[in-house]
């Protein structure tokens, strides 16, 4: 379901620290997860903020479109962001 591109140290959602805000540049994810993220309001140009990490470090919580959504690092790695 995920694209072949593997991101390591580029600017992706999973690299965000708590309190940081960014704009979504590209979704490198396909299939049902892409739909889910779009439904939740995470699309190109939307603003996200990292608001927390779970006790074991994964998943993390993001503020998207006014709601707090938990996303695993494995999926967050496929969301490219840029700073504001």
């Amino acid at each position: 379901m995920k694209s072949g591109e593997i991101l390591t140290k580029r600017n992706c959602l999973s690299e965000m620290k708590i309190g940081e805000t960014a704009v979504v540049e590209r979704l490198l994810i396909h299939g049902s997860m892409r739909r889910r993220l779009l439904d939740l309001g995470l699309c190109e140009g939307s603003v996200v903020k990292c608001v927390g990490k779970s006790p074991l470090g994964d998943p993390s919580a993001y503020l998207i479109c006014g709601a707090v959504i938990a996303i695993r690092a494995a999926d967050a790695r496929c969301v490219i962001i840029r700073g504001i």
Binding site: R36, L38, G41, C43, S54, D58, A67, I71
Partner: protein, 708 residues
């Protein structure tokens, strides 16, 4: 991966999307909305139904309908399961779309969350596009107000072109604005003029090519423009639905040619079929943003402080364990006295009943069946099992209403992911504390079928409301016996928590084993919404769940425990060759019982308890009494009864372990068969925990024998 039509399509459609009108003049209203926007609360408030509500997305998995009367009309309200969009990615969304497009509704209400209006508008815009007679209901206004969010409803109404009503669903008075607008829309006093969504130029061009063909034919209630876009978006399930609804000849050569041309136009502009859906979604989101801009003012939102503590590295797990312990402790302390009172009252009543039978010269066997058999088991269920069940349930519901359960799922996602399962399994697991059948149904929130099956098969490792009082009783009889008062109740709660943690560890182990064997696979993607904490409607919850639970348990006890008690009395009093039939049966299970550290009576009680676990302990007591070591005992003498029948602390441990790990009750098994789609899964759900229980108990009793 993902949902299959057979697994959820059927169950979704058999859950009441067939509308039952009470009179032909009834107006049908479709109630749609994002998950967890208080849709069920609104629905309950309007219809007077008591659909269970809880503060987490996906709580309502089955759709319901109810009736509501205003000055002008009688309405049938159809509650559609929560969806984020109508683009039909999942079975629920397909059901929602088909109902809104073809369900024959007179009007639709889209319930929006005032605390994140922009996202809710996304769905509202989609519904308005396919169904112009829509009313937008901005719910949770009070919550938004507390969060400092200001919403200009009049401006919103102007921009959307459809009526907008602001509500706070648990305050009935606020619903008036909604019902007034509903009346006006249905009577034609208000004509809706929904805002036209603007798409990018290539998409608009493609739409107009197909629209020209679509306008020429009957497209039902759906505006031609939107129908054209839906057809271009090339959705196979829609095509079939359109053929069913609008006639098999809807798709002819002319339309097919237009669609091909539209696709060509799009391709020239560099938009492929997959990108098209994306573009449509981002256009709608953009529209939602434009509408919300200026109409909604929102202060910067942060994760609430309490969440930082509840999900912190240091305190996240200790707080979960503590919460469990506190709930158990309240249950233990709270159940203690009612249990004693009920016990003495019911047993006194039993004696009087017995006197009455003697007084009217009834035959001895009749008195035995009714009083010593049926009534006494019922009394045991009511006095020993009912109080903890009735206290635990509302407490658990409070926690659920507050919104703590998604935090548990958030905290536990990583271990579940390591077991190649889904973090949402934690939600079904905690639901299992209330009732395993409910936990199994709750597994519908897990999208991947593989992960859903894992959640279903392992749900039974959490003891339900009918089982944990057994564990509790045995702990307090055999292990806390000496310690009384505050210390005793605290130790009982701690021991019970330890048993529950064992059950949760087994959930992980078995999930991992299943992922490596019959349900092989990798964990799929996962998103989980953490809703804001909501103040629970404490009074309402206490009354409702206490009452519901008590009536439910008593009803089931009357239906199951009383006949079982009567049967046991007969078996104990009918003799063959000088020994009772019951002793032959328990004797048959005795060797197996000994092997797993218990005895024939306990094994028989577990088997007879298949319809309802809450009768297991009362049945065991009953059988011991009938076998005559101690003929008459009060509930306070259970310990003496058990030890007189050869129970040791090892027996007690084995009974606790086996209570935690044995076959689910028959209701749960039937639910599993339905939810998982096959008797095979019910058989597995029966075998897996039973096998775990037998192995563990055999090891425990084996070790104890070696030591002895």
């Amino acid at each position: 991966m993902g949902l299959t039509a057979s697994s959820t399509g059927i169950s979704a459609s058999d859950n009441g999307l067939v509308v039952k009108k009470r009179s032909p003049n009834d107006k049908i209203i479709a109630v749609a909305g994002n998950p967890n926007v208080g849709k069920s609360t609104l629905f309950n408030a309007l219809t007077g139904l008591h659909q269970h509500t809880g503060n987490w997305p996906g709580k309502t998995v089955a759709s319901a309908q109810g009736y509501c009367k205003t000055e002008d009309f009688d309405y049938v309200l159809v509650d559609i399961p929560g969806t984020y969009s109508l683009l039909a990615h999942s079975a629920e969304e397909e059901v929602a779309r088909n109902f809104i497009c073809f369900g024959g509704a007179d009007a639709a209400v889209v319930v929006c969350d005032a605390t994140c209006l922009e996202r809710s508008l996304n769905l509202a815009l989609q519904v308005m596009e396919v169904f112009p007679n829509t009313i937008v209901c901005v719910n949770l206004l009070d919550e938004a107000k507390r969060a400092g969010i200001k919403i200009d409803l009049a401006l919103l109404e102007k921009r959307l072109g459809v009526p907008v009503a602001g509500t706070s669903a648990h305050k009935k008075k606020t619903l008036r604005s909604l019902t007034e607008k509903l009346d006006k829309v249905c009577s034609g006093e208000i004509t809706t003029n929904p805002r036209k969504l603007r798409y990018s130029e290539p998409i608009e061009n493609a739409i107009s090519i197909v629209e020209k063909v679509v306008v020429k034919r009957n497209s039902g209630q759906i505006p031609a423009r939107r129908l054209a876009l839906m057809i271009i978006d090339n959705d196979a399930s829609l095509k079939e639905e359109l053929r069913n609804q609008l006639g098999g000849d809807f798709f002819d050569e002319e339309l097919d040619a237009a669609v091909s041309e539209a696709h060509r136009t799009l391709a020239e502009a560099g938009i492929t079929t997959e990108m098209l859906s994306d573009k449509i979604v981002s256009c709608i989101l953009q529209n939602a943003e434009e509408i919300a801009h200026g109409a909604v003012s929102q202060p910067a939102k942060k994760l609430p402080k309490i969440d930082k503590i509840l999900t912190s590295r240091a305190l996240g797990f200790p707080i979960m364990i503590l919460a469990l312990m506190v709930i158990f402790w309240i249950t233990i302390v709270g159940a203690n006295y009612p249990s004693e009172w009920l016990g003495s009252a019911l047993f006194w009543l039993g004696d009087r009943l017995s006197d009455f039978f003697v007084y009217i010269n009834a035959p001895e066997w009749l008195r035995g069946v009714v009083v010593d058999g049926a009534y006494r088991v019922l009394a045991w269920v009511a006095s020993v099992m009912l109080p903890p069940m009735a206290i635990f349930f509302p407490l658990f519901t409070l926690l659920e209403d507050l919104g703590y359960l998604p935090r548990v799922a958030y905290n536990l996602d990583k271990p579940f992911c390591k077991c190649k399962a889904c973090g949402k399994q934690a939600l079904c697991m905690t639901m299992g504390f209330g009732c395993n059948a409910a936990g199994v149904v709750g597994a519908r929130i897990i999208d991947s079928r593989r992960e859903r099956l894992i959640a279903i098969l392992t749900n039974n490792f959490v003891p339900c409301n009918g089982r944990f009082p057994i564990i509790l009783k045995i702990i307090s009889l055999f292990f806390i016996g000496g310690a009384i008062g505050l210390l005793g109740s605290f130790l009982s709660a701690a021991a019970l928590t330890a048993v529950i943690i064992l059950g949760i560890l087994m959930t992980f182990v078995v999930s991992r084993i299943l992922s490596a064997t019959i349900l092989k696979g990798e964990p799929s993607s996962f998103t989980l919404e953490l809703p804001p904490f909501r103040k629970p409607q404490i009074g309402k919850i206490l009354v409702r769940s206490l009452l519901d639970r008590t009536i439910f348990v008593l009803g089931r006890a009357a239906a199951v425990a009383a006949p079982a008690g009567a049967i046991i009395w007969v078996l104990a009093n009918v003799s063959i060759d000088g020994a009772s039939v019951l002793s032959y049966i328990t004797g048959f299970f005795e060797p197996f019982g000994q092997f797993i550290g218990m005895d024939g009576v306990i094994v028989t009680a577990f088997l007879l308890g298949l319809p309802a676990n809450e009768i297991v302990l009362p049945l065991a007591v009953m059988m011991y009494m009938q076998q005559g070591v101690l003929a008459e005992i009060a509930p306070s003498q259970m310990f003496e009864l058990f030890t007189a029948n050869g129970w040791t602390p090892v027996t007690a441990v084995c009974v606790i372990v086996f209570t935690l790990m044995h076959f689910p009750c028959s209701t749960t098994l039937l639910t599993i068969k339905k939810e998982a789609g096959g008797i095979k899964w019910a058989a597995l759900a029966f075998a897996i925990p039973t096998l775990c229980g037998i192995i563990l108990c055999a090891i425990i009793s084996g070790i104890s024998r070696i030591i002895a």
